[in-house]
């Protein structure tokens, strides 16, 4: 039996007793008249790995973007690491320092080298020394296995390499939670694996992760919990085994039928 704080892989129950890192209660969001999030309740525990899937427009990206407030919710409460997100910048700053995010389109800073990309936030947000920021950056670049690219510019790297740099850049802030917004969707097929392998490595180290992805193989092998969203609601959530073998709702079945058919 693994310790509660060190969840084992592959669907073993997540450490429910451990502390809650993210709590969403009755979260709602509209774009004008269109409701994108309908009464979302979600608790994420430390060390837990969640995969969120669902058809496009189901609100899954919006959900994770609300956690670091790239999108503002209009109703309900979101608490991250004990800080409730409100209208004030102070809470937002506290939350964003602890929450890393990886985007579909990498979003590396093209005018900075790989190393500078990784050093910027620790230097300017955390106020670490240059030597320290550089050491941290190199450590994480080694971890994503591209230290030799440190002095290149993002435009000189392949998509898979760029996404690994983006992961390293987030890790340099030493986040408590990592959010992934379709991290492999913009990649050529042959580059998907290197990014997924990096994410699996993170999972093995006990990182709390929320991934919006359609990589069901990843979900099966890494997630503690799979959440299915449709039309702004959480329709179903379960362990990967139950989710894939015995989906409860009709909408989940039809979604799985579509993405697993081929």
């Amino acid at each position: 039996m693994a310790l509660a704080t060190e969840p084992t892989r592959n669907g073993v129950a997540p450490p429910m007793s451990a502390d809650v890192v993210i709590r969403m209660e009755g979260v709602q969001k509209w774009y004008d008249q269109f409701q994108v999030l309908k009464d979302i309740d979600l608790e994420v525990h430390r060390g837990e790995r969640i995969v969120i899937c669902g058809p496009s427009g189901s609100g899954k990206s919006t959900l994770i973007r609300c956690i670091n407030q790239l999108e503002r919710h209009q109703k309900g409460r979101i608490t991250v690491n004990g800080v409730e997100l409100g209208p004030h910048h102070r809470q937002l700053d506290l939350v964003r320092r602890e929450v890393g995010m990886v985007f579909q389109s990498f979003n590396l800073f093209p005018h900075l080298t790989v190393l500078e990309n990784c050093m910027l936030a620790p230097l300017k947000v955390r106020g670490t020394t240059k030597a320290e920021a550089k050491a941290t950056a190199m450590r994480y670049l080694e971890r994503v296995r591209i230290p030799e690219q440190a002095d290149k510019y993002p435009g000189q790297l392949s998509g898979g390499q760029q996404q690994r740099v983006a992961i390293a850049r987030s890790l340099c802030m030493n986040p408590k939670v990592m959010l992934f917004d379709e991290p492999t969707s913009a990649l050529d097929p042959e580059m998907v694996k290197e990014v997924l392998d990096t994410m699996i490595g993170l999972a093995e180290d006990g990182m709390t992760m929320l991934c919006v992805t359609h990589e069901m193989g990843f979900a099966k092998s890494v997630a503690h919990r799979v959440i299915f969203m449709d039309r702004g609601e959480i329709v179903e959530q379960n362990t990967p085994e139950e989710f894939f073998s015995a989906p409860k709702s009709e909408r989940t079945r039809s979604f799985l039928g579509q993405i697993l058919a081929h």
Partner: protein
Amino acid sequence: MIRAFGYNEFLFLLSAVQWTLLLSVIAFIGGGIVGLFVALGRTSDVKPLRLLATGYIQLFQGTPLLMQLFLVFFGATVVGIDMSPWVAAAVGLTLNTSAFLGEIWRGCIQSVPRGQWEAASSLGLRYPGLMRYVILPQAVKVAVPPTVGYLVQVIKGTSLAAIIGFVELTRAGQIVNNATFQPFLVFGIVAAIYFALCWPLSLLSQRLEARYAAPSR
């Protein structure tokens, strides 16, 4: 008594170029500093700032530069400030330039993809750092060619300062013409001098545009 247009008259025109250039430089630097704030206001999340900057730009783009110079020059007298044509021209041109540069730079700032703002924000950078380290360095690359191009407009705009009595190239032309009465020759030379100042800048702007349009490193 009519004088002939000779070497001395030509030298007089040439020496007036320094005032045209100095006024241009002042308008450009002043306009650039104010223009940066106008551009930041225009792209701000804060609505009052955005409206203020928009109004400012509309005001200066929607009225002739000459009227703006008149209003500064005579307006100062109305409120009891004795403003020399020099200062009035510098202030008027600075305001005008800032509105145009502000609008050009707004476009450059907005050309930086949304994802860059999101990535910087998600790393915890707040507005000043986000602008300084992420957005502006990328916007500057886009901004250089149109900004150099706009410098041509600034140089030509300084000719209007002649009307409020500031002796720069155009006003020097008028003075020489009053003495020699050879308008075609005199203003032909004045125009040729303007062209000699502006053309290289236009070429530079085109070259910069071609260079920055090339695929990035």
